[in-house]
């Protein structure tokens, strides 16, 4: 586990330099696993593999371009007022917080005597005082800096779909003969785990969006579908994403219904219910076995990730730890097998013996090896 943590921190440190490649890479991998069944279906129907892949990615590109052309002008128009909108929703959140504190002080006068509302007002003022002017630009610029790299996603997806088998063969070729068969098996299991994880994640996102959108629509919060989808996608980031998604929805509800804080509280309750549904019903049905990372380790990784790689580390800490743990366990099963290691040493000795045996002729090449 210590080695996993160390490797994760190292990976995060490297990733922050190449975040423009890591995020599109992860997205491309997810889309690859989700589109692979469709490609296999088209091949079964008689299309050549390359034709099927080109058709799928082509359709995907057309849909993406269509969405960008339709939604782009609208988003650009709204972006001009983003600072004002951000402050508007922040004010809605402040209002909700103040109302909540007032309600608490009415219920428990000891809090009023302790000056809770004064303290909270002071903290809010310090936090929000020119927050948008100080930090919004930095956050927006940070996002926009690597946003163009998302155009890599369809490119990477196309080549993953087209050449994944060749890529796997290329990787396997570099493994020594002694570890070959076992590596092949573990590689297949790892591939299968990734496939079921990403496909399960997509199904889970759909279910979460459905539940959240239905609940928000019933509460009268709009746009229900967009908010539900945003919160479901944010939930891909373990723990942190769910909290951020919940805050976003509660802020919208608090701003749209300033005189009815019960709507915002209902949104919070809705999130808790969907969270419980996820943990006890949806996750076992979709993704199945979770990574079982201890909560203490999760918190530790958040702090370590943030220290090593800032915001990137905070977001990627747990997913990277999960991948590193699975890869490490898989590799250990191969590398720690003593019989295979002995076989590998014997093979190395044979190769060295040939090289040092003083043969006058060169080692005969295996005939007809592919280039």
């Amino acid at each position: 586990m210590l080695l996993s943590i160390f490797t994760t921190c190292l990976a995060l440190f490297l990733f922050q330099r190449i975040i423009w490649l890591v995020v599109p890479g992860l997205l491309a991998l997810m889309i690859y696993y989700c589109l692979r069944p469709l490609a296999e279906y088209l091949v079964l129907r008689g299309l050549r593999h390359e034709t099927a892949v080109a058709a799928i990615v082509g359709v995907l590109l057309l849909i993406t371009v269509g969405i960008v052309f339709m939604a782009g002008p609208l988003l650009l128009a709204r972006a001009a007022h983003s600072q004002g909108a951000f402050e508007h929703y922040l004010a809605g959140g402040e209002n909700l917080l103040r109302k909540t504190i007032q309600s608490l002080e009415e219920v428990a006068p000891v809090l009023q005597r302790a000056g809770l509302s004064r303290q909270v007002d002071l903290q809010i003022e310090q936090f929000t005082d020119q927050f948008a002017e100080k930090h919004l630009g930095t956050i927006t610029f940070g996002l926009l800096k690597w946003l163009p790299s998302l155009f890599l996603v369809p490119y990477l997806t196309y080549f993953l779909l087209k050449d994944s088998t060749r890529l796997k063969r290329f990787l396997i070729r570099s493994i020594p003969n002694a570890f070959f068969e076992k590596s092949l098996l573990l590689f297949a299991r790892f591939d299968e785990s990734l496939r079921s994880f990403f496909q399960g994640l997509l199904v889970l996102t759909f279910l979460d969006t459905l539940c959240l959108a239905t609940g928000l629509f019933a509460l009268g919060v709009s746009p229900a579908l967009l908010l539900g989808l945003t919160a479901a996608v944010l939930a891909w980031i373990p723990y942190l994403g769910s909290i951020v998604g919940c805050i976003v929805v509660v802020l919208v509800a608090a701003t749209d219904f300033p005189d009815h804080p019960s709507i915002a509280y209902s949104c919070l309750a809705l999130f808790l219910c969907v969270r419980l549904l996820d943990d006890f019903v949806f996750l076992p049905l979709t993704i199945g076995r979770k990574l079982h990372i201890h909560p203490l380790l999760s918190v530790l990784m958040f702090f370590l990730g943030a220290t090593v790689a800032g915001g990137t580390g905070l977001v990627l800490a747990l997913p990277v730890l999960g991948v590193v743990t699975v890869v490490g366990e898989t590799a250990a099963q191969v590398v720690m097998d003593r019989r295979l290691r002995a076989r590998y040493r014997a093979a190395r000795a044979l190769a060295t013996a040939w090289d040092t045996s003083g043969h006058s002729e060169p080692r005969p090449p295996a005939p007809n090896l592919p280039p």
Partner: protein, 158 residues
């Protein structure tokens, strides 16, 4: 970058079609199978697999020679050498069974391996190719079993 045809390694595909297991395949079919095979090169006296290892696929000798050293009494009588075109370990293609003999390269040998998961995906994706390969494998297994039952000196399936 070609959209509608895979880059073909004609030489390696033609070499594949010379192997008994893939003799019935057309060029395009062999091209699809070639993408699933893993080529390995073994030095003289290098172990290919050991008795008791859990097998996950078959090996086919492309060039060179390998020798099987079984510990089972029944199999010890046979002279167990395999040359180009012959296959080993076909039982492991259908189930995760332990290998029944240790196989060692007699000389520098090139082999191709077909992994079980990939073979089954071939059966699903392209039934025609899968059936052709399956028929060839079955006839080899049947021949070897018959030879063993008739006490002829040939190795049954490994």
């Amino acid at each position: 970058m070609s959209f509608f045809s895979a880059p073909a390694n004609r030489k390696s595909v033609e070499r594949l079609r010379q192997l008994d297991a893939f003799r019935e395949l057309t060029f395009n079919e062999a091209l699809e199978v070639e993408e699933l095979l893993h080529e390995r090169v073994y030095e003289k006296n290098e172990i290919i697999f050991e008795e008791g290892d859990l097998g996950h696929g078959i090996f086919i000798v492309v060039s060179g020679k390998v020798r099987a050293d079984p510990s089972h009494e029944l199999l010890k009588m046979a002279v167990l050498e395999f040359g180009p075109g012959e296959m080993l370990g076909e039982l492991s293609l259908f189930e995760e069974a332990p290998r029944i003999a240790t196989v060692v390269a007699v000389e520098r040998t090139v082999m191709v391996a077909l992994f079980r998961a990939e073979f089954f995906s071939l059966l699903t994706r392209n039934t025609k190719i899968g059936v052709k390969v399956l028929v060839k494998l079955s006839s080899t297994m049947s021949r070897r079993t018959r030879h063993l039952l008739l006490h002829e000196h040939h190795l049954p399936s490994l």
